[in-house]
Amino acid sequence: MAEFKHKHIIALRDLTKDDIELLISTAENMRDINCRDIKKVPTLRGKTIINLFYEASTRTRTSFEIAGKRLSADTVNIAPSNSSATKGETLADTALNLLAMKPDIIVMRHAVSGSHYFLANKLNCSIINAGDGAHEHPSQGLLDLLTMKDRYGRLDGLKVAIVGDITHSRVARSNIQGLTKLGSSVYLAGPPTMVPPGVEKLGDVTVCATMNEALQDADVVMMLRIQQERQGKTLMPNAREYSRYFGLNPTNIKLAKPNAMIMHPGPINRGVEMSSSMVDGDQSWVLKQVENGVAVRMAMLYHVCGGELE
């Protein structure tokens, strides 16, 4: 019987194929809870979950909060950007203070890649990564996988195009790790300024010269968010030119397989990464991604609460 042996979920890179499949299967089986009149099970009754979000996030934080509540855990949200962090308290000190409140799980988003490992070494509670710098965003990766499984019934042999700023994308990294482990292939496209060196060695990854090349016969087209504040002034001229070469539209989507699924981690810049007709069209799975987010996060909370087996 499959068992989840990890105390923390920090990166899909740290998980095996079996771990990922178990999390997805748990999420599939938990999903119905979210459709019932009573959207709650008593599983994590008495557990305390702290959502520690150093970066602003509505979607992910809300999703984790709902996931915790539906499992009957007590969830507390802390946004240190408007509390002690601005008074010079270090991450380690903040975490130690939170630990005095005896949380079972800390769900953290932090701008610094790897800060969850730092925290995991200091604290004895479980750590779940809700996004760290440009490193990983495992819950997003898992919900993307679940959504692809909803459409195709499998996660092997898929051709997944990921288009945009790969360098700064933790979503891309988690998807590359997950898809590769499950036997699918990733095709990346983006301005060369946004494709990091050696990315093809991260897994079953092909770096494409053009967006059209990546889209060719794709089963899944995943568009990444462009953030002017991240790309600065040196990575691209402006959003207008970006969307001309790396935006998804009714013409280039035809290169992908008929009825290929379109995904986006959100929030979407309509007219930049893709046109509104793509966002709202039949091929869009964007809302399903959000819906699956709660179930995936419930599965993550459930399994890290199970303790270690060593």
């Binding site: 099970v41 008495g46 459930y302």
Partner: protein, 178 residues
């Protein structure tokens, strides 16, 4: 270490027991009106299918059958062992005002039944819940008893009772392991 095994019931015996339980359910409830069957995953769910089949043979009409996975309602979730994989709860009908026949393979401490009843309550408010089990092996830790029992088997707590199923989820035998 090989456990000593005794076969308590064979396939035919199990089938006879399920047929009898089906008759008792119909008798007690005066027919199939408002009856729904919910089996507890995994063994109970297979047996619920078997009982439903017998009921339809006897009465000629189908009764709704669902399955409940009680993993999320277990009372041992705060232990330090890995959590059990979560199975699918599949109750594609309303329980509101229904007479629910909860089906399990082996009744032991009663904790599984407690969890299953909590799960059912989260799906609505049934008129009643009745419990049907293939084997009652005693040693209850909660005030729970079965309404329909295939066979009472006195056991010691060191022993283990297993219902084995074949590839198409048909019961093959009941085994006592010492």
């Amino acid at each position: 270490m090989t456990a000593e095994q005794t076969v308590l019931m064979d396939g035919a015996g199990i089938k006879r027991a399920l047929t009898r339980i089906a008759h008792e359910i119909l008798e007690r409830n005066k027919g199939v009106a408002d009856i729904v069957l919910v089996g507890i995953r995994s063994g109970g769910a297979f047996l619920a299918d078997g009982i439903a089949q017998q009921i339809s043979v006897i009465e000629g009409g189908a009764v709704p059958v669902g399955a409940v996975d009680i993993t999320l309602y277990r009372d041992d979730c705060s232990g330090h062992l890995p959590h059990h994989p979560v199975g699918k709860t599949d109750i594609p009908f309303s329980l509101e005002g229904k007479k629910v026949i909860l089906v399990d393979d082996v009744l032991y401490t009663g904790r599984t039944i407690r969890a299953a009843m909590d799960a059912l309550m989260d799906f609505g408010r049934p008129q009643s819940i009745q419990l049907a089990v293939l084997i009652d092996r005693g040693h209850r830790e909660l005030p729970i008893r079965a309404d329909f029992v295939g066979r009472n088997v006195p056991t010691s707590q060191k022993e283990n009772v297993q219902v084995a199923f074949d590839g198409s989820n048909q019961p093959i035998e009941v085994v006592l392991e010492k």
